[in-house]
Symmetry: C2
Subunit: 349 residues, 2 copies
Amino acid sequence: MGGDHGPPVVIAAVARAIATLPDAVSFLLHGDEPAIAAEMAKHKQVVARVEIRHSDKVVGMDEKPAQALRRAKGTSMWNAVEAVREGQAAAALSAGNTGALMAISKLILRMCADLERPALVTSIPTPRSVTTFLDVGANIDCDAARLVEFAIMGEAFHRAAHGVPKPTVGLLNVGSEEMKGHEEVREANRILRLGGLDLDYRGFVEGDDITRGAVDVIVTDGFTGNIALKSMEGAARFMNSELRNALTSGLMATLGAILARPALRKFRDRMSPPPAAPLLGLNGIVLKCHGGASDRDFAQAIRVAADLARSDFSAEIERNMRRLPAALAEQAPPEGAPAEGDTPQGAAE
Amino acid sequence: MGGDHGPPVVIAAVARAIATLPDAVSFLLHGDEPAIAAEMAKHKQVVARVEIRHSDKVVGMDEKPAQALRRAKGTSMWNAVEAVREGQAAAALSAGNTGALMAISKLILRMCADLERPALVTSIPTPRSVTTFLDVGANIDCDAARLVEFAIMGEAFHRAAHGVPKPTVGLLNVGSEEMKGHEEVREANRILRLGGLDLDYRGFVEGDDITRGAVDVIVTDGFTGNIALKSMEGAARFMNSELRNALTSGLMATLGAILARPALRKFRDRMSPPPAAPLLGLNGIVLKCHGGASDRDFAQAIRVAADLARSDFSAEIERNMRRLPAALAEQAPPEGAPAEGDTPQGAAE
């Protein structure tokens, strides 16, 4: 029921997705039965793969999470997450209210990590593949242990979503030397370096490594991650609009742009954000699809959900999470703080 | 003597700059006299405006700041900054080692703000103008008072460099609501809201506001600022390379690109980073020009230095800095921490 478009987009997406998904994948659709049934009449091929679970209530797109939570029971969103807890569904997918989805998922499924709330992960395009980047806004204050948890979860997600057997992991910082950055990232770096966890950790990376693809997974706190993501989105939007201006600035430029149109369109598609973000750190798979998703986006999100559900994702996270207390205990503060003195951390050159 | 090119670029830049600067602007060139004189022979028009100050020593581009500082006395960099302290120069400009320039400037000129080291400011293009953005990497751990100091210095810089009478100021955060973000930004927001300073403060802004131009000056700590800047630079580089790939992907695209070449070149120029970054928070004007600067870039940096030197920049900063202690004292912690509960701070929607 969520997102800007509701059932029409969801049903059309299911129709798209079943064309490429194995027969074993089927769908529970939670929401207003008449509205769903009306849309299904337009996509008869989905009927055999879908079961409708009626609910009278929905979570509003602009309800505050606390407010949504008080009356969440029996909403389509609640029922979708509850179906994961009961083992009826292998994953839940929603284009609805992000904050409410986090709060409801946390309440029903409980966290497997010691986080304030589920971490938000996104995928950023790079020349050869994508970078898995987290947390992009859910956990503002993160100590070293939280950053290590992000590394564990992001690594398992990258393997499940992209089939990379052993993803490489980096920690976002203002320079690559050990003494750079604030205490939390330096401590997380020491824990990850110890090697007690099953991770291919490569050390510190910088902001421009996100789009360079220096490592597969880049970890940061939710404050920095949200600002880095939005800064990049803003820069991309600005460049697209400047490019449009440049390519309509005269006859020759316009003519050139018309000839290059298919190439420019492919370029734009490649730059568009991924449709689905898993909420990481829950005992169960929940994905958030962005509210304005088209049926093509939502179908892509369904495929990611199916990939995660079929992978060892949750078991892998659990295995590494069990190793974490030992790694934390082993990590004693170093003898004397590293000498920083007048070294300009992260200065431009 | 600094930068990737040394005297050839600096002298050519002086030649470029004097063509547009008032006659009253003259230059002290610190460095190896024979090398400077040899270059000046190629640009005779600069002779009347230039005085050479010979120095035997230079700071190496890759010396650590602490190491550079120990033997800095008598280097061309030291002498350039010392000339500012002695009132012989109104501003110092260097394309040399950033860390050494910061350390030497801090030692000779002393800080007017309570910062670890001078703040680095950059200018980001927006549809209608530029955003002044700081700190981009010099001060990693910033409390609320430091963020307010950045606001004071960035505002004065923006007025001096861009002639905007009353620049608007925003604080970078993960959302625009008062309860968002970590304690330091919330406290800085309260201090700036009190109105004890002479600033047009507009509240919190988000990462995509940097390129949107929502406000003239955007303030953040050096950790977040460095990562946001490098993320945007990386995104821009990635988009440029993808665009190049798209526009060489076939005959029509290539033909289109050739027709649109002047427009595409203008687009690239518009996206290139600014040549000069002032070091803010010093009792005196010092600017860092990037090491790879061309003579055109360096001439532009000279113009920014001259604009700053002719403005009321330093006096304006001093005036607001004197108001700061009262503003800090007035700002008492609010009754009980703001209720955050399950509100996802900075969640994607």
